[in-house]
């Protein structure tokens, strides 16, 4: 029952990951990490979590606990590009709040950011905007990471350029 007899291709991939990791220390973290990598939108779809639960015997509530505890795991599809704004003290005093507001305007996702969502993805799934408590690069404040590479002394103009380059060919909403 529960569809174990005729697994889909995705389910087979998950089963293999579980099999490889079975019995290792911190097994669940490793499994979820690899399962998240399986899809382009870098997230853990419900069906995948349920498959992992079924194959590992770890209760769904526990998997949900782990998946929501670590910011590395996403339960919603992520944008193609990521923009992470540092909201630490140093960056804050150097104006990271207004950088975040500018990004909200640039990418048309101001509402979600204002509502305090930890992660906001644009409807066309091109960008995911998030904040971080501190990158540890306070000397370069304000700091913004675009697709993982950190840029210091960020200004609104610089950001506009970088994001503009990435959104080339992107349909304006």
């Amino acid at each position: 029952m529960d569809g174990t007899e005729f697994p889909t291709a995705e389910e087979q991939e998950i089963d293999e990951i579980v099999q490889q990791r079975a019995g290792t220390h911190g097994e669940l973290l490793g499994i979820l990490e690899e399962v998240q990598r399986l899809n382009d939108a870098r997230y853990l779809p419900e069906e995948a979590l349920e498959r992992v639960s079924q194959r590992t015997g770890v209760p769904l509530s526990r998997i949900y606990n782990v998946a929501t505890f670590y910011s590395f795991f996403n339960l919603k599809p992520q944008g193609k590009h990521t923009v992470t704004v540092c909201r630490g003290t140093a960056c804050h005093t150097k104006g990271s709040r207004s950088l975040l507001d500018d990004i909200g305007l640039m990418l048309d996702c101001k509402k979600g950011l204002e509502e305090g969502e930890p992660l906001v993805t644009t409807p066309d799934r091109q960008f995911t905007v998030s904040t971080v408590a501190c990158f540890g690069q306070c000397a370069l404040a304000p700091v913004v990471a675009v697709d993982g590479s950190i840029d210091g002394a960020m200004t609104s103009a610089k950001l506009q350029k970088r994001i503009g380059r990435l959104s080339k060919g992107r349909k304006r909403p």
Partner: protein, 609 residues
């Protein structure tokens, strides 16, 4: 087990304490009360609340006494300005995010946070609210959750994961966003939750409570067109007194009956009548399975939390469950058929209210198949689906009944002792002990032995199946056939027996499983707190009531004999099949995926034999 003793100094005097004991245990033994909040006997010591802190000489900071252990020569102080300040601050921090509408809370005056705040002298909160308002979870027909009242002590998770091995709830998020969640916030009503209510029983605040049906019952009681009758489970007579302020385990059968009459119930009946009926049906089902090579072991089906657990976690073993309905449901079906015919009352006007120690019973009463009385009358009276009614209309927990008594000013201590009404109020000692773990087994053995051997039992007490051990077993010699039986309470212990069955290694013919620790007397709807000491007191009262009953075997209940003679004809007969037996659903671990509109799998299992 390490039984070595060490000597510790508590508040200046020396006391012996077992090595490896926690500081809390050592202090309690020595007679010093250390306040606790997240700690829950045998269930949880999460060290999350920082209320039980004490000073230990040489330690850098205050230690949490629920987890820190004693050692030889340890010097402990349980009361100092520093300790009091720390405890008070911990509670104030919790109160900052806790609603202050205590007066409108179901747990008002029975809330550990409230008591603690009063005891510790909290006179205001210095801290501001930091959490966002959360939505209530009212998806379950049995228990409702209000995350705003949650203090994240983790007791509910501990009982759900470790005692029941259900894991319907867990923590989610991190830091300020941490909360107790069901998987993907689907709600208790949509995940594999058994509705046992143990989470509500251990919750120190009003964050998890029974779904309150007192308003609906009050409304029915004031409707002159309705005949509102009540049935009380065995465990209520040893729980309701406690909920009304008497000593734990107080046996108040007679006062309870009197109080229910004063509340306005037309007839006060006893679920124990139906418990005797259950024994007749289940006993004969067991004998039939034994004689016809039916599916064995057969497992009792009185505990609706256990039934739902089996449907979620052991769907391929459902043929082992007895097809007998629980006593609550048998009562409803009999009341709206047999009793309705006997009295000439239109069954559509009969309102059956159950008082149960159980939250899962609320769900059980709403299972779509529990409309046997309507099915019985439908064709006879040419009624349409708009006339449909459930066999049991409302289910109140012990706690809800206590609230109704208080609201109407019923003074328990000054009530006379009154008798149940005839005929559905008559029961035997065998039915009383249904409320304790091992009781259904003992009651069944009393009847099965005499039916199989044809000789009367010299001693009706099967003490091997009594007591609070998690798993018990016994062998009964019936005319040369040795029947091995087992008894389990808590779903963790149930798993042990079920895994054995699924491996094909079960040596038993008959198994009793009760969802809650101690059986129904420790049910999720019972008075709070329910500790092991309290459970033992309640069990003692039940066995005392059994010992004092003139008739102690279900098959000797004259009113059950009359019921068969006048109406049902014979155990496992055609009428019984329709009114007293049921079927189960394969629910699986992802119940939300089954069918559409929340409908479950159509595949039901009707065990043979």
């Amino acid at each position: 087990m390490d039984t070595t003793m060490v000597t510790v100094k508590i508040n200046g005097s020396e006391y012996p304490a077992p090595r490896n004991a926690t500081i809390l245990d050592a202090c309690t033994r020595a007679g010093f009360k250390v306040p606790t909040l997240c700690y829950c006997e045998d269930v949880a010591k999460n060290a999350s609340c920082a209320v039980c802190v004490v000073e230990v000489k040489g330690a850098k900071s205050l230690l949490r006494s629920c987890t820190a252990c004693v050692h030889e020569g340890m010097e402990i102080v349980t009361n100092s300005p520093r300790i009091r300040d720390a405890r008070k601050t911990s509670v104030e921090l919790l109160l900052a995010n806790h609603p202050s509408d205590c007066l409108a809370c179901l747990r008002n005056q029975n809330c550990e946070l409230q008591t603690l705040a009063a005891d510790l002298g909290v006179r205001g909160s210095r801290f501001v609210r930091t959490k966002k308002a959360e939505k209530l979870d009212t998806t379950s027909p049995s228990v409702h959750r209000d995350p705003n009242k949650c203090i994240l002590c983790g007791r509910c998770i501990a009982v759900c994961q470790n005692v029941q091995t259900v894991s319907a709830i867990g923590l989610s998020g991190r830091g300020i966003r941490t909360k107790i969640s069901t998987y993907m916030e689907k709600g208790l009503g949509n995940v594999a939750c058994t509705y046992c209510g143990q989470c509500a029983l251990v919750c120190p605040t009003g964050a998890i409570v029974e779904r309150d049906e007192t308003d609906e019952v009050f409304e029915e009681l004031s409707n002159p067109d309705k005949v509102v009758i009540v049935q009380t489970a065995p465990a209520i007579r040893v729980g309701i007194g406690e909920a009304m302020g008497l000593e734990p385990g107080s046996l108040v059968t007679g006062q309870m009956v009197a109080a229910l009459r004063r509340l306005g119930f037309r007839k006060v009946f006893d679920t124990q009548f139906a418990a005797d009926l259950t024994i007749l049906e289940e006993g004969h089902e067991l004998i039939r399975r034994l004689r016809t090579n039916g599916t064995l072991p057969m497992i009792t089906s009185c505990s609706p939390g256990w039934i739902k657990f089996a449907e979620h976690f052991y769907p391929s073993s459902l043929a082992h469950l007895s097809t007998c309905k629980s006593p609550q449901q048998m009562f409803g079906a009999v009341a709206k058929t047999y009793y309705a015919s006997k009295t000439g009352i239109d069954p559509r006007n009969i309102v059956v209210v159950s008082v149960m120690p159980c939250t899962a019973k609320k769900f059980e009463a709403r299972r779509p198949e529990m409309m046997s009385a309507f099915e019985y009358w439908k064709d006879k009276r040419a009624w349409s689906e708009t006339d449909a009614f459930y066999d049991v209309d409302y289910v109140l927990t012990t706690r809800e009944l206590a609230r109704m008594f208080r609201e109407t000013g019923v003074r328990f201590s000054s009530l006379p002792s009154e008798e149940f009404d005839h005929p559905l109020g008559e029961s035997t000692g065998a039915a009383v002990i249904f409320g304790a773990t091992g009781g259904v087994m003992e009651a069944a053995l009393r009847t099965a032995y005499e039916v199989v051997t044809g000789t009367p039992l010299t001693n009706v007490e099967f003490t091997a199946v009594r007591g609070m051990e998690g798993l018990k077993e016994a062998s009964v010699d019936m005319n040369g056939t040795v029947v091995k039986v087992a008894v389990a309470h808590t779903l963790k212990n149930a798993r042990t027996l079920l895994d054995q069955i699924e491996r094909g290694e079960s040596p038993y013919a008959f198994i009793e499983i009760m969802t809650c620790p101690g059986g129904c007397l420790g049910g999720g709807g019972q008075p709070i707190p329910t500790t092991w000491a309290v459970r033992r007191q309640r069990a003692e009262s039940l066995y005392r009531e059994d010992a004092g009953k003139p008739v102690r075997k279900s098959h000797e209940n004259p009113h059950i004999t009359a019921l068969y003679k006048e109406f049902l004809k014979e155990p496992l007969g055609d009428m019984s099949h329709h009114l007293l037996h049921t079927s189960y659903e394969r629910r699986g671990l992802r119940p939300w995926t089954a069918g559409s509109n929340g409908q479950q799998h159509a595949a039901s299992v009707r065990p043979a034999g």
